[in-house]
């Protein structure tokens, strides 16, 4: 279950609108905001795929200008991958032809 520290940036005038919107996401924890339009958040999702989808959704928000990630922990997923239990094979995956 990946956890990331993310600074979400918007134009300062839209800060409250964006925070209100972010509050609707259960995967987003808001830890603070400043007058420059920086919103400090922690994102926690079930998988990297969900993390990517969440960030994509946020990126498409009218007033969000940038998603700046500063920290990512994926140790659960990495351990599953290392044990060969990964579910992260992409579409069309094929083993190298030998």
């Amino acid at each position: 279950m990946p956890i990331s520290g993310v600074v979400i940036s918007c134009s300062p005038g839209h800060r409250y609108t964006v925070i209100k919107n972010l509050n609707a996401y259960k995967s987003v924890e808001i830890h603070g905001a400043d007058h420059r339009g920086n919103i400090v958040t922690v994102l926690e999702t079930d998988s990297s795929e969900e993390m990517e989808k969440l960030i994509e959704r946020l990126n498409n928000h009218d007033h969000i200008l940038n998603i700046g990630m500063t920290y990512l922990n994926i140790e659960d997923e990495a351990e599953r991958m290392a044990r060969g239990e990964t579910t992260t094979k992409p579409f069309g995956f094929k083993a190298p032809s030998v």
Partner: protein
């Protein structure tokens, strides 16, 4: 994961993000220590794009488990983008190449072989080709993703060992016009300033670059500067396509593809007409050039006077007004500091060097250079196009240290440094990329080594060149971490280490060299390229009975490949080949680079100086040690670059010139191509990260809604794009992005129906030899409604 540990990690994540925003959270900082339990953090650079973001890879039990930014790094100040955050997934990926693979005929199935067998075959085939046709029958085609040590070592064996200047790399496809622009305008390759100008700039002139998607971390810095100073900082976006970058722009000028040369000249015209230029700067530091002639300011003034704003608005397609041109020119000239940024929109053009020159002209004309907050900054797309290929001798006409190969004195310096006989390096430049693959088409090149790149997909008009790569009489070796469309044309596929599985230096956009040390073991039998080169060259020396090849690897014999070998190669390169050159890296030893959180900007002649971070502004006395040691007069700026004997900046008289192909009744649309945020280049890495693949599983074509309406195309419809060279069929995205009359397609897709380089044109800039990927003419036709599509990755 235990609840407590999750909580620790969440607190560490919150503290990390808060520290960047300058917020003080009431969280116990002991959480960070608990979150880091059993994790070791290893500093290095991001593997993707040319920004050079510094990261730390978290490793637990030998596996990557986390990534975080380095807050002190002057490239990214700790921020990373989503694409960068995923590169760890290439490590240990089940698709990784882990054994050497060989097939005698390209129609055969690959079989696994040992390294000893593989290296013998590689040496046999290169020796055979060399015996048949000498240095002209062999070639190396490398990458702006290879480490500097790798590019330098490969070209050393090719030039010093095999007497071949057929040394090229994919930066020819992306950066060559920027090189040409810098050399012809400033007399020296690479920018004068760098990223630190962003926080001091008052005007951003972004042309031919979707910075928000292609360089998101730098875009963040530009955005922050604009948002923090909304009234005093202007952002101008000049591009035929509206993009995410346009969202922060005060003004967006959309123009008909290929007409920006006229626009740039019109801006110069306004600057001169309204006397906004810096006369003192021009008098002291500028020469005016028209072809081979030296002219004067009056001649330049007369030339740009032809480009009145009113006339240029018509040339550009009437999407903006003459007053927009005037206001843009005023913002550019009058700001306290203007930074221009561009990427492939200018470079991948038949007039790529000219387009670069015309941006530089504006900076020289207005004196928007050499001071904090002002620069003409070409952004690079690959992590080591600058450091490895441009500086390390990775192109057919240049030796390491920005030395032209055609210059005898330069060749002699290199031969002495290598201890090979004088005259060993051939004087004639080798074949540039498009000529190299043409020579493969007719089998003049018999053996080629393709390292860490996929020309089958990335060359323009690729159908034409793929015929050559399929020939049975051309032996192809590839070194890579995954299969690509190019490994499918190879005889021998060699598995290599990925980033953090080996040690080496990347040099990013702003002349900054940064070290990444090995942190984890590679999978299977994958090996670092420097080991592969050394072992291959030793066998080559035996098979050709040539002791000079052995001499090329002699300093590196017996060294452990994970650290000692790349360090010895870097030492040879930096100490012997960059000494007293404009990219002097003698101070940037491994010992210094290991200490520096964000590397060193050259010139950095001594370790003491390198430990300060190096040179932020080139050519400025007191800020650039070479400006002091190379000083010839009392002026504060010293242009000591190797290409301008008069030590001046050159303003070029360049007229508007059409692209090679413009729309006509048969092919009525412009086609342009580019990247999307989730994918990088040919998708061989990002396509294997499921999150990135699912976000954009296949390419699509963007069509302006007005054009879509005329053609009866709805969102998701399948659309056929036909040029004089090839056909693609892909889904449509109806979008207010491209200007009317132009369509835009992404180039990452490997599927044969959606590989857009079958359609693009292989016309090249006559100076830089860079192809005109960005502009060609196509026919656009709806073929059906939406169809279910499957993503495709070669396996």
């Amino acid at each position: 994961m235990a609840q407590t540990r999750r909580e620790f990690i969440k607190k560490a994540a919150a503290l990390s993000a808060a520290s960047y925003a300058g917020l003080d959270l009431s969280i116990d900082r002991g959480s960070v220590a608990n979150a880091n339990e059993n994790i070791s953090w290893h500093r290095g650079s991001c593997r993707l794009c040319g920004v050079g973001c510094r990261v730390e890879l978290g490793v637990k039990n030998g596996n990557p488990v986390g990534l975080r930014g380095v807050p002190e790094a002057r490239t990214n100040f700790g921020y990373l983008c989503m694409k960068g955050m995923h590169f760890w997934k290439c490590m240990g990926h089940p698709d990784r190449l882990v054994k050497p693979l060989y097939r005698k005929k390209k129609t055969d199935t690959f079989k696994e072989i040992s390294w000893d067998e593989a290296l013998n075959i590689a040496a046999d085939e290169f020796a055979k080709a060399h015996k048949e046709g000498g240095g002209e029958a062999v070639a190396y085609y490398g990458s702006g993703q290879a480490l500097t040590e790798e590019t330098y070592f490969f070209q050393k064996i090719m030039r010093g060992g095999l007497q071949s200047n057929n040394v090229e790399g994919n930066p020819r496809l992306c950066m060559a016009s920027a090189v040409g622009g810098y050399l012809t305008s400033f007399g020296a390759d690479e920018p004068i300033g760098g990223y630190s100008d962003i926080e001091k700039a008052h005007c951003f002139f972004i042309i031919g670059s979707n910075t928000a998607e292609a360089h998101p971390v730098l875009f963040r810095r530009i955005m922050r500067r604009k948002l923090d100073n909304p009234d005093t900082v202007k952002v101008i976006n000049v591009d035929p396509r509206l993009s995410q970058t346009s969202r922060i722009a005060d003004k967006h000028l959309q123009f008909k593809p290929g007409t920006d040369l006229a626009l740039l000249n019109a801006m110069a015209n306004v600057i001169i007409e309204e006397k906004l230029y810096d006369e003192d700067f021009l008098n002291k530091y500028t020469t005016f050039k028209s072809g081979k002639e030296t002219v004067d300011f009056e001649a330049y003034k007369a030339q740009v006077a032809e480009y009145t704003p009113e006339k240029v608005v018509t040339i550009c397609g009437n999407s903006f007004s003459a007053d927009d041109v005037r206001e843009t020119a005023r913002w550019f000239a009058n700001s306290k500091g203007t930074v221009s940024l561009w990427t492939m929109g200018l470079n991948q053009r038949k007039q790529g060097v000219w387009a670069n020159n015309l941006v530089h002209n504006l900076h020289i004309l207005t004196g928007q250079l050499l001071k904090d907050g002002a620069d003409s900054l070409s952004l690079t797309g690959q992590p080591n196009a600058c450091g490895g290929v441009r500086e390390g001798g990775g192109l057919c006409h240049i030796l390491p240290g920005h030395r032209p190969v055609a210059n005898e004195k330069m060749r002699t310096q290199v031969e002495k440094a290598w201890g090979v006989p004088q005259g060993r390096i051939p004087p004639k430049p080798g074949l540039h990329t498009m000529a190299m693959f043409s020579a493969i088409n007719d089998a003049r090149i018999k053996a080629i080594w393709i390292n860490c790149t996929s020309p089958v997909q990335s060359l323009p008009n690729c159908n034409l060149y793929n015929k050559g790569m399929a020939r049975e009489d051309v032996f192809i070796i590839t070194t890579d971490i995954f299969h690509t469309l190019t490994t499918q044309t190879a005889n021998l596929v060699l598995p290599t280490c990925f980033h953090f599985e080996k040690t080496g230096v990347y040099g990013c956009t702003e002349r900054r060299s940064q070290l990444t040390k090995k942190a984890i073991e590679p999978p299977g039998d994958a090996k670092p390229e420097v080991w592969i080169i050394r072992e291959w060259a030793r066998k080559l020396s035996e098979k050709l009975n040539d002791p000079v090849i052995a001499q090329c690897i002699k300093p590196f014999e017996g060294l452990e490949e994970g650290y000692e070998l790349p360090k010895a190669i870097w030492n040879e390169y930096s100490q012997k080949l960059t000494a007293h050159r404009d990219n002097d890296l003698r101070g940037a030893t491994y010992e210094v680079l290991e200490q520096m959180k964000d590397g060193v900007q050259w010139p950095a002649p001594t370790e003491e100086y390198a430990l300060t971070g190096g040179t932020v502004k080139k050519f400025v006395k007191g800020r650039d040690p070479m400006a002091d040691t190379e000083s010839k007069d009392d002026l504060p700026y010293q242009f000591y670059g190797p290409a301008h004997p008069d030590r001046k900046l050159w303003i070029w008289l360049r007229d508007q010139a059409d692209p090679e192909e413009i729309p006509d009744s048969e092919y009525p649309f412009y086609l342009s191509t580019g990247r999307i945020i989730d994918h990088w280049h040919t998708m061989s890495m990002t396509g294997r990260v499921p999150e990135l693949l699912r976000a954009n599983p296949y390419a699509h074509v963007e069509i302006n809604p007005k054009d879509a309406q005329k053609l009866g195309i709805k969102p998701g419809d399948m659309v056929e794009l036909t040029s004089r060279r090839g056909v693609n069929i892909m889904p449509a995205k109806v979008y207010e992005g491209p200007v009317e009359g132009m369509v835009f397609a992404y180039w990452h897709d490997q599927h044969k129906d959606r590989m857009i380089n079958k359609v693009t044109k292989d016309a090249i800039d006559p100076g830089s030899k860079e192809p005109e990927f960005k502009i060609c003419a196509v026919r656009v036709k709806r073929v059906s409604g939406p169809q279910p599509l499957k993503p495709y990755l070669v396996g």
